[in-house]
């Protein structure tokens, strides 16, 4: 069993092969992959755009929307893992580092229930 927060190496390897088999590495610069990731986020966001917050909570299980939700989440994941791979970034280490920063920056007592504090976090 792994001690990691996330483990993406098997997927990264699979995507490397997939690209290599099709001679697609030439298109996979970080710049291009960041754009492709943007496109997929756009498709994900479209699912939720006219829903209320309450409705969005059922989007992952509702028969009408779940297939699209799964597909777009998968697409975002594929491009994110591929992008980190071509950049040579260890996603697990990057995530662990960011969690440490967030824990220090947002002590439980000061941040409790406050969207404003929370928002500040994102500017950090």
């Amino acid at each position: 069993m792994s001690n990691k927060l996330i483990e993406v190496e098997a997927l990264a390897r699979r995507l490397r092969e997939f690209a290599s088999d099709r001679d697609w590495q030439q298109f996979h610069s970080p710049k291009n992959l960041a754009m492709a990731l943007t496109g997929e986020i756009g498709e994900l966001v479209e699912i939720f755009q006219w829903m209320s917050e309450g409705e969005s909570k059922h989007a992952g299980t509702s028969e009408r929307t779940a297939p699209a939700v799964r597909e777009e989440l998968a697409d975002v994941t594929l491009y994110l893992v591929r992008l980190a791979d071509v950049l040579g970034v260890d996603l697990n280490a990057a995530v662990a580092e960011k969690l440490r920063v967030n824990a220090t920056k947002y002590p439980v007592d000061a941040a409790r229930g406050s969207a404003r504090k929370y928002n500040d976090l994102e500017r950090g």
Copy 2:
């Protein structure tokens, strides 16, 4: 050792606790988290926007840009895993399903070296 392509449960659990400790679940509707993910993608894309494709290949290792690259990739990962968690979506299963679709849709011989074919994939 896991047979999974990706393993995100430890991170999902950590983010659940982080939100719960701060009473932030109230802000974490899928609709809101999809927007937060958009914001992080925007920050990631900004890193690459004035770089050439060639320059972008060194962005993950160059001293000047690597810290920002790691931080923004981490932020995207945190929100993606949190979003999948509140939606009740198994990211590994969703990814495996999408890879099967892509493999069928883009046979090696037909897709080789073609950005146009590749592009079609994204519309699938």
Copy 3:
């Protein structure tokens, strides 16, 4: 008085000069400007991400958020107009054309009050 739906030429000219004076045309490929536009959208979306829909209706007039709303809307507008300009696209003509398509596609009676119909529009 103009018969146009929108008129952006004075701004386009100003942005051309601004870029030219600073020798920034070299960075203003459509690919790069589309990425810059993404970054600005990210900053705009961040303003609304933790707001309820009701709260978001006051974001343009509330003292706390109005300056940021105006600034991010301006930034999106600047990059959009600059992007259309370097692409040689007449925004007013493009908008007029799209409005005609939408009017035909979404007859008043069939579309009334339906988010689903509305959503289909975006896929068109």
Copy 4:
């Protein structure tokens, strides 16, 4: 003739009527419209994602890509103008204000030919 940098009121009025005729104002909160704008940006970015910068310069005139470029630029414009309208923001005033800020912040001599300076502008 107008002294404005941009003039969008005729389009804003048209979009108001279009929404009102279909009883779509209920979906048009700023939060929702910001998400819809994200989706359209995603579609715009997809056009350029596998192009080189050089290729992207012809995307607005090339027969193969020009119709999609015009359509996605139009969609972004529609949602941007609609969003500013429901927020009660005067886009022309917001743009004029931002141009003044940028001119002060980026004096011609200091900014010339520097992507780094330029990049700082976006953080401003």
